[in-house]
């Protein structure tokens, strides 16, 4: 079971990496914010899978922290007048 969870977390990390690396070159800044948001969610999913697979203490609490701050980057972007 842990092998499967590890494989799933690697898969999700690579999926998100492909999306991130392509869109980081994306035309508009707003696309880059989406890439960061995608990585946030993908990172949390990979974190939960890794944490469950290897029973790391505190993995879910780190995911909780990340989930709480997930919107922070985009809020700061829009607040300081970022646009596409």
């Amino acid at each position: 079971m842990t092998e499967f969870l590890l494989a799933a977390s690697v898969f999700i990390l690579l999926m998100v990496a492909v999306g991130l690396l392509r869109v980081l070159r994306g035309p508009a800044d707003i696309d880059r914010m989406m890439a960061a948001q995608l990585l946030g969610t993908g990172g949390i999913a990979a974190l939960l899978l890794l944490g469950t697979a290897t029973a790391l203490p505190g993995a879910v609490d780190v995911a909780l922290t990340l989930a709480l701050l997930a919107a922070f980057a985009a809020v700061m972007f829009v607040h300081s007048g970022g646009s596409s």
């Binding site: 494989a7 990496a17 505190g58 701050l69 919107a71 980057a73 809020v75 972007f77 607040h79 300081s80």
Partner: protein, 311 residues
């Protein structure tokens, strides 16, 4: 090539890919977005190095709050991105050679150090029961190397004073932020009303769980700061004028409480910053909660920036 090593290799490749992207990006904003993603993946790497406390700090402070400051700055400075020419080729090659040498030296250190790594883990764990604690990292932060944590609070205070001193003379004592933010964005207002209560509960939980599992004052304080900033950004509450007494009190109460507790150590035989075993646990909890409040206010004001308006 076990699967775990594959996961680590994928993570390392991603982290390094982002690091090169941060250097190579043509404009500042894409580089900063890359840095936010980099900080998040670093939190994963810290977890793989089984350092839960550091992973949480990296997630909350390293990628969360630092990312916010850098994103705001890169958007504000976007119009002034002068096409300053990068240094001439020979200079760049020299810099490449130098950083290559540094990397080679560190890699050599990592690869060829033989013998058991020096470790203070045994001593750290030995005295934990006396402090009523299970988490060795929090034990080190609050008890064994309490001086580091105290001085680190003072560094935060100095950084805040440095930022406040950047205010124009006529705005001294005023309110950070260029203008009063009007609460217009419905979605942001909903988030700023819904998330902070949950964030406060999670922050207190992380502070409390820090005694036995990864967590503690820094991480809890960073989450509280993020929630406070969210309320300010949504326009529900204006940033406080820095001359307000409660601001000055909150900012200094952390280091002051720590020094006070440290001085009580003199009254007892053990010396400065040592906790008498009998009341160690409540004393530490008291100091940590005051620290969390102080960290939250300082981090929030660090992000808010120097005063730019009349009080």
């Amino acid at each position: 090539m076990s699967l775990a090593l594959l996961a680590d290799a994928a993570l390392v490749l991603l982290v390094l890919g982002l690091a090169f992207w941060i250097n190579a990006a043509s404009r500042a904003f894409p580089a900063v977005v890359g840095y936010v993603a980099f900080g998040l993946l670093l939190a994963l790497a810290w977890l793989r190095l089984s350092a839960g406390d550091v992973a949480m700090t990296e997630a909350a402070v390293g990628s969360g709050v630092t990312g916010a400051v850098l994103i705001a700055a890169s958007v504000r400075l976007r119009s002034a991105e002068t096409e300053a020419p990068p240094p001439a080729l020979p200079l760049r090659l020299l810099a490449l050679l130098l950083s290559g040498l540094v990397t080679a030296a560190l890699a050599g250190l990592v690869l060829w150090t033989t013998g058991p790594a020096p470790s203070l883990a045994d001593q750290a764990v030995q005295h934990l029961p006396g402090l009523g604690m299970g988490n060795a990292v929090t034990g080190v932060l609050i008890a064994y190397r309490a001086l580091d944590t105290l001085l680190e609070k003072v560094v935060l205070l100095l950084a805040l004073m440095g930022i406040w001193s950047l205010a124009k003379d006529r705005y001294w004592g005023g309110i950070p932020g260029p203008s009063r933010i009007q609460p217009t964005n419905g979605a942001l207002i909903l988030l700023a009303r819904l998330l902070p209560p949950i964030g406060i509960v999670v922050a207190v939980y992380i502070l409390w769980v820090g005694a036995t599992d990864p967590g503690g004052a820094f991480q809890g304080g960073a989450i509280l700061a993020a929630m406070w900033l969210l309320v300010m950004l949504a326009g529900l509450r204006d940033a406080p004028a820095i001359s307000r007494p409660w601001v000055r009190l909150c900012v200094t109460v952390g280091p002051a409480a720590f020094i006070a507790v440290g001085l009580t150590g003199f009254a007892l035989p053990n010396g400065f910053l040592s906790y008498p075993d009998s009341i160690a646990k409540p004393l530490i909890i008291a100091v940590e909660s005051v620290l969390t409040l102080s960290i939250a206010v300082i981090l929030g004001l660090l992000v808010a920036g120097p005063p730019e308006r009349q009080p």
